[in-house]
Amino acid sequence: MMAVAGAWARGFWRDRAGVVLTLLLPPLVYLLFAAIFGAGARGEIDTSVVMQDAARTPATVAMHDALARDMGARLRTVEDEGELERAVIDGRADAGILIRPSTGRPPQIVVLSAAGRDVAAAALQARLEPMAATLSGQVAPPTARVATVQVGPTGDVQAAYYAGAVSVMFVFFAAMHGAMGGLDERRSGLQARLALARGGLAPILAGRAAWLTVVGVMQSAAVFVAAWTKLPDLAPWQAAAAAVTALLVGFSAAGLALALTAACRSREQAQPLTTFVVLLLAALGGSMAPRFLMPEAFRALGWITPHAWAIEAYQAVIWRAEFTPGVVAGWAVLAGLGAAGLGVALVLERRRAAR
């Protein structure tokens, strides 16, 4: 087993470009994901707004100035209602504010929204309600009737979330790509030779699984190193539990990758199949967007993916500093998937050899 793992390791290290891409891309993508998707999920939606003040009363001018101070360059002013609509429709602005004069009555405020941008319009509407009340001479409602108190750990939870989410996605990608080397070995007869030399296929597949697991652990480590400054201070037990999670993520990815490639005759078959499976698992499992943003049905469906279990385990041990039964269950799922994948790969490879 170690001889095969060692051969794969040497092949890996000699492909310098491959090493760099394998270990550098995941942290880079993590930083991008954390920056792009993290901000939205944190509530920091940087809505861009276009405004036309057709009323131009002292009160509406004061309102415009207040918004401009707050939003800065994200607020633009136009002079024409048609231009306002076009800006919203073609996406140059997430929402529009139209202030219409009204004879004998306070100016009327209208929020313009395009299809699919309901969240931006709702946020803007909530922000403008007190201003509209003031314009109409009413007393603005108190802005904090309901108190909000944050509980649990403080800090950048999304950065911690995406460290787990992105690392899991890349570990599965890398495992699928790496396992395809086995297809070349099968085609060339190398697999048959090694199996004959060792007395069976099991040690050969175990060696491949061992190496793919090591690559997975290295990738996870690279992502968590990039995320280090954004993670809470970890106790030794937390670091150890995260390392175990990374190990099991690597093993589950290796098992699944070996099973899928064993089911394929060629790279041409394996390439689209593994890409589809990895993307599907990543999407359902919360590697691309947090599962709490998904509809309930997909949230429940996500538990069929190893990604969801792994991300939950990372969140528990790293963010919440909890070692719950859920973590153990996640580990069991990951280990079980890895072992099952390895078993399926062995059965399929044996069958294929006998064809």
Partner: protein, 322 residues
């Protein structure tokens, strides 16, 4: 033991082999095996002695590679018995040199051979010697430390065979070891196989290279449609099949004229499908060649007489069996 094919003949090798008390390297007895319910080998029997190179010859699809896979245990048999050596740790004592370059491309030949040595269970302290010996046997030393992906086909063939030899196999299976190699490499590989069987192994050689087989094999078996048609020493089989007959062949560069065609037909020659080559096996080939020389010259072709080779034997036996 099942009865051999009716048309099968068996002629012993002229080369000495190990004493009969040594267990055969491979016994296949009454084998029936195939793929997806389609039988390829039917009632197939073969005994490969320790100390001999046994070459399997046959047209594509005759079942040669299936025999190799059955011998390796990679293909289960539906009926019959497979025995390798004395049966102890049999699979681990089979060295396989597949048709393709079965090597890790990023590793050097030395590293590849080392990996196989480790898997074969060669002890750490003996490993370096075993690896060097396997590389020396195939003359792979000068390129032993370059990555396989940078080597030419011939060097890869050497490395491929070295990896199969490092475990000192009791049974060596070499599938088309000379495909795409030059004459010098062919000689080295032949010597490596001879050296291996001299040390007590048996070698099952699968090859279309008639010259290599003639130089290397002690015995050959001609296979067609999953059955052995004949087996024995190459020269003896050739003599049995053709006696003193020679192969007369006429090669043309353009379609034959009607007059020439009449001459060739009267002389008993038969054409190939494209009509550009005519041939006949006959005892008086030289006399017939002299008779046809002027006609062939007028047609812009050439006439040749040679001893039939193993390719002709395979074609002859396969044609007779079908």
């Amino acid at each position: 033991m099942t009865a051999p094919c009716p048309c099968m003949s068996s002629i012993s090798s002229g080369r000495p082999i190990l004493a009969s008390s040594v267990a055969p390297a491979l016994v296949l007895d009454g084998i029936e095996a195939g793929y997806d319910g389609r039988p390829v080998l039917r009632d197939f029997s073969l005994t490969l002695n320790a100390g001999e190179v046994y070459a399997l010859l046959g047209a594509n699809g005759a079942g040669k590679s299936t025999v190799a896979r059955v011998a390796c245990g990679l293909l289960p048999v539906r009926r019959g018995r497979v025995a390798v050596g004395d049966g102890t740790q049999a699979r681990a004592r089979i060295g396989l040199a597949p048709q393709d370059s079965a090597l890790f491309p990023a590793l050097s030949p030395r590293e590849n051979v080392e990996v196989t040595a480790r898997l074969c269970g060669v002890a750490r302290e003996e490993r370096r010697t075993a690896v060097d010996r396997a590389l020396d046997l195939t003359g792979c030393g000068p390129r032993a430390d370059q990555p396989v992906r940078t080597l030419s086909g011939g060097w890869r063939r050497r490395a491929n065979l070295s990896a199969a030899l490092v475990g000192q196999p009791r049974l060596l299976i070499a599938d088309e070891p000379t495909e795409g190699v030059d004459a010098a490499t062919r000689g080295v590989l032949s010597a490596a196989l001879r050296e291996t069987v001299k040390a007590g192994a048996g070698c099952l050689l699968i090859s279309h290279d008639a010259v290599f087989v003639s130089d290397t094999a002690d015995r050959i078996g001609v296979l067609a449609q999953g059955r052995l048609l004949a087996e024995g020493a190459p020269n003896a089989l050739l003599h049995q099949a053709f006696g003193a007959a020679r192969l007369l062949s006429v090669r043309l560069t353009r379609p034959t004229s009607d007059a020439a065609m009449q001459w060739f037909t009267q002389a008993g020659l038969t054409p190939t499908d494209d009509g550009l080559e005519w041939s006949r096996l006959c005892d008086d080939a030289l006399a017939v060649a002299q008779m046809l020389a002027a006609v062939v010259d007028g047609e812009g072709g050439e006439v040749a007489v040679r001893r039939p080779g193993l390719d002709d034997l395979v074609a002859h036996l396969s044609g007779a069996s079908s």
